[in-house]
């Protein structure tokens, strides 16, 4: 996870005609370690007006939700090792997709509570923005994924990959869902150009303004885990996940994920930030109807052909 930060900083450095971290270790590879150490040894500051219980709890919720969501991503096919069925991911749930959407929406509690419990106005506005934004885009994310699930006929992520491994990847069958998913994923993870909850030039740092040291790091890690999760999910749902020729499963997933991660970084380097009302209008009056129409059309087609 930590290497995502290194990757991002190197890539964005390149895009912005500078180098990025290159001093700690070879090519700056130890930089994430140094950053983590620094944050770990920092004083644990809690503002006087912060809530005693919720303030420390919020980053933990965020991180928990992010890590728990990642658990159902399949890295490879289910294999048998010494007679025991070993799932390709950490867990292979029959309702993996439902679980993922459910858990990842838990994460928003971390942001809202963090923003509210800090006792700071910037945090509060950031938290509110995060709540409104994540809830709105969660819908679109969910609807886009449901269209794919309809086509695949299963909610198990492994099943979805299995469905694509033999046929076409779902990006071809569901191009609209893919685009919707992409937009929603960027918004869901609070990344540019939808990084309003932590818009540093408006709200200082949004919901985590008052957090420092390890607590800040937990928010930070949660954000990057989320980015990786949505990238992995995009690869799984639309680009056939771990399946591919020649290389073993995890490699393929990694390559596809990396392409998405690069896209995330690229977007951040290129685009300005949307405004709050524009973001909401985009979600409710453009993307949501589109997602519903797409879902309806998919449902009809699936019902007719099956």
């Amino acid at each position: 996870m930590a290497y995502m930060t290194w990757f991002e900083r190197r890539v964005i450095g390149r895009l912005q005609v500078r180098l990025g971290p290159n001093r700690v270790g070879i090519g700056g590879l130890l930089q994430p370690l140094a950053d983590a150490l620094k944050l770990f040894f920092k004083e644990d500051v809690r503002p006087a007006r912060a809530d005693r219980i919720l303030f420390p709890l919020a980053p933990a919720i965020s991180l928990f939700a992010a890590l728990a969501a990642f658990a159902v991503i399949p890295f490879g096919p289910t294999t048998r090792i010494a007679g025991v069925e070993v799932p390709g991911g950490i867990a292979n749930l029959q309702v993996g997709l439902l679980y993922l959407v459910g858990i990842s929406s838990l994460g928003v509690y971390g942001l809202v509570l963090g923003g509210w419990s800090s006792g700071s106005k910037y945090s509060l506005i950031g938290g509110l923005r995060a709540a409104a934004q994540v809830v709105s885009y969660e819908l679109i994310l969910g609807l886009a994924l449901v269209s794919v699930a309809l086509v695949a006929g299963t909610l198990s992520l492994e099943g979805v990959v299995g469905g694509q491994a033999n046929g076409l990847p779902y990006v071809i069958l569901q191009p609209v869902a893919f685009l919707l998913y992409l937009v929603a994923a960027v918004a869901e993870t609070n990344r540019a150009p939808f990084d309003l909850p932590e818009a540093d030039t408006e709200l200082v740092a949004g919901y985590h303004t008052e957090y420092g040291g390890m607590r800040f790091a937990m928010f930070f890690i949660a954000e990057y885990v989320n980015v990786i999760t949505v990238s992995a999910l995009a690869a799984t749902m639309f680009f056939a996940g771990w399946s591919g020729p020649f290389l073993p499963g995890p490699h393929w997933l990694f390559i596809k994920m990396l392409a998405f991660l690069f896209l995330f970084v690229w977007l951040r380097a290129t685009l300005p930030r949307l405004r709050y009302d524009q973001l909401m209008r985009l979600s409710w009056s453009v993307l949501l109807p589109l997602a519903l129409i797409n879902l309806l059309a998919t449902a009809v087609v699936v019902a007719v052909t099956r």
Binding site: D200, T201, E202, T270, P272, R275, Y276
Partner: protein, 413 residues
Amino acid sequence: MATDLEQARQSIGGLSVESVTETGEGRRDMVVNMGPQHPSTHGVLRVVLDLQGENIVGTDVQIGYLHRGIEKLSEARTYTQVIPLTDRTDYTAAMTGNQGLCVAVERLMELEVPPRGRYIRTMIAELQRLASHLIWLGTHAMDIGAATVFLYCFRERERILDFFEAFSGARLTYSYYRVGGVAGDAPPGILQQIYEFTNYFVDRLAENEELLTGNDIWLARTQGVGIISAEEAVAIGLTGPSLRGSGLAYDIRKAEPYEAYADMDFEIPVFPDGDVFARYRVRIEEMKQSVRIIRQCIEHMPDGPVNVQDSRVTPPKREVAMTHMESMINHFMWNIHSFPTPKGEVYSAIESPKGELGYYIVSDGSNKPYRLRIRPPSFCNLQALPLLVRGQMIADVVACIGSIDIVLGEVDR
């Protein structure tokens, strides 16, 4: 509670901004203190925002965090010694600060700068305009979330600072202008380099424009945001690109040409919409015009002295001062007492990158100004901020602050 103070605060230049209590059903959810420590108030500006959700219902702009008493300090310094102080007003465009003072003193003393001096000064001022606009573009874009443009702009600005370093030895506080000319002639070969830079710069500017001008998100964030009409702009005293973004073609370089602007062929870009995007377009187009002026300066650069040959302001030549007793005394007197100015007063304005930069000097006939008053464009332009952000959202505040291009060193002096 519409007290007199409140009313006075809300009424600017005869225009009244709807007061906090009178709009939005009299509701105000939150007061947010933006600054003086805030990433995008461009220094130590403090804006107190009355919010209703994310909407702004009232603004209170507070300044003074960077006040250093430059005007008062000037009264105890000779005119030459004031020049370094002017560096510290608009520190993103220190050359034009120098220029404003020197032009004012020259007008007071009725000095005529020789052609080469004027051309060099014009060229430097336009390079400074580029550098200043580059900082503006970078920070403005970053405020709206496009961080890459910021780094691109600083890459170009670095080249301009290299030129300034070659001219003056400094990269931030140049003190390059002198009353009656400049500190030194252009270093050999630099004009050619500057000319080559302008070619490179035009390409790079197009690159930055590509990232912003046609970008849908950029348009959504800037078009129709922070609108100020031409009447309001005039009433507030808005000048420079911010005024021209409201459709008024007022530019001191054309209206009252100073330096070598009368010889130059350039246009004044004007956009009528009065929003953030119009002001953005004005500055972008202005950079292209600046490039034109710089090229003309280099192409038609006259020969001759760069300083006025007047024994009142020009120190005696070194070889003369070292061989003649009277010149030696003159040399000492010049260095200790500088030069006196005739009794009287003068106001002279130049077009700085941010607007009308005026210097008002009252002279009692001594070698120091009796009173020196700076009319900083940033200070007057900042007055427009409450008008710009009325009815907008939090995110628009930073866009509006960026669009009037203020520097707090100049606001507070």
